[in-house]
Symmetry: C2
Subunit: 228 residues, 2 copies
């Protein structure tokens, strides 16, 4: 049995979700040189656990250490790989933009839209895997602080709201959003105020190791098109 690990590693750039793709080696038996989700085999001799294997693959093949990794689902069947029965453990990984750029040369960040709208075709069932991981992210964004892992350690609330809106695909109410996030008690006011185009914004900080906090209501988002 072919047994692999795949990762959907996401970041936010220019108000868009981007996924990291990895170029399959030119000597691959199938889909040679195609751009795919980064993945690899478990090395039973050196990896103690699946989690360890996932970290190793991301560090070695891609060169990144994401702030957050979560197992999404395991897909196994006899048609996803032309070579025969194949199983993959799919992971969702999030990284903040500021540390996302130093990757290996056989990788590139692409807007997820390009894959979703079939402008960029991925091998195997990787498009479906991407969709599954994105669905997990947007579902959790409705009731948790998970998208915080896409933000910098020091951030402005409007920035974080924008991240949520990108992940959810719809606008949010500024008032409700602020109350919600601040009530989770993961952000501390640094006291710094940053001046931009308008009124100065408060800079908050979150602990890199802070847990994902859960709310007990889902956010629906705004019906109207106003986010402020």
């Amino acid at each position: 049995m072919i047994s692999t690990i795949d990762a959907v590693l996401l970041r936010i750039l220019d108000n868009q979700l981007q996924v990291l793709l990895w170029q399959r080696p030119a000597e691959s038996e199938v889909f040679a040189s195609h751009w795919a989700l980064p993945g690899g085999w478990v090395y039973e001799d050196t990896d103690q656990t699946l989690e360890e294997a996932t970290c190793r693959i991301l560090e070695n093949k891609v060169g990144l250490t994401p702030d957050y990794i979560e197992q999404v689902v395991t897909v196994g069947n006899n048609h996803r790989d032309p070579r025969g029965w194949s199983t993959t453990v799919l992971h969702l990984a999030l990284i903040r933009t500021s540390i996302s750029s130093i990757t290996h040369s056989d990788t590139q960040w692409v807007n997820v839209e390009n894959v979703l709208e079939r402008r960029l075709l991925l091998p195997f069932d990787h498009a479906l895997l991407l969709e599954t991981a994105l669905e997990r992210l947007s579902t959790k964004a409705r009731y948790s602080t998970l998208p915080l892992y896409l933000a910098e350690h020091e951030l402005k609330l409007p920035e974080l709201q924008r991240i949520y809106e990108i992940v959810l695909g719809n606008p949010l109410h500024k008032r409700a959003f602020r109350e919600r996030i601040l009530s989770a008690n993961v952000l501390t006011d640094t006291g710094v105020r940053i001046q931009g185009r308008g009124s100065p914004a408060t800079i908050y900080r979150y602990a890199p190791s802070c847990p994902v906090m859960l709310f007990d209501r889902m956010m629906q988002g705004a019906q109207t098109d106003l986010s402020d």
Copy 2:
């Protein structure tokens, strides 16, 4: 690599959650004749998908076809099986009591408490797997109609409330519970009223194939000890 599927199959009897255990063969290399979670290998020649393999294993080894099966997590590491690296895809399965009894002779239903309180020791990491599956069930019970799959197709609302309370481990408010469940529109009033000790209860019916409906608030349960 040893790659298996395991299932936590649950039912409710006598106001208790029960899990189905399966006796490992006497000739097993490890944990021979021990009671364990039912599981088995994927047969790449005959199983088309992981889901198919899961159903086959439950039908062949146990003799049951659960109403609901969901993948929970995949656990892989080098210490869960004394023989070496081992991966298992854990599933949560629910079955209604009335069809749960005709099982193979090398199986038995036991109260989950016996495992959780270490009165009954399971081999490998099966106790941990059981806890993981139970946590998934109780988490989902807080915001979905999932526990309906533990109930009969025709049921009284107080019965269903009791099932939720067993799964959640705490009492619920009758008023809020009724509104919630009925608002999900999965139950239809059969018009039948059943008389028991007290006032006659309305019999509702759910479609065997009805989807798990999600609420957008979590149920907290009652602080006080009243459920009616």
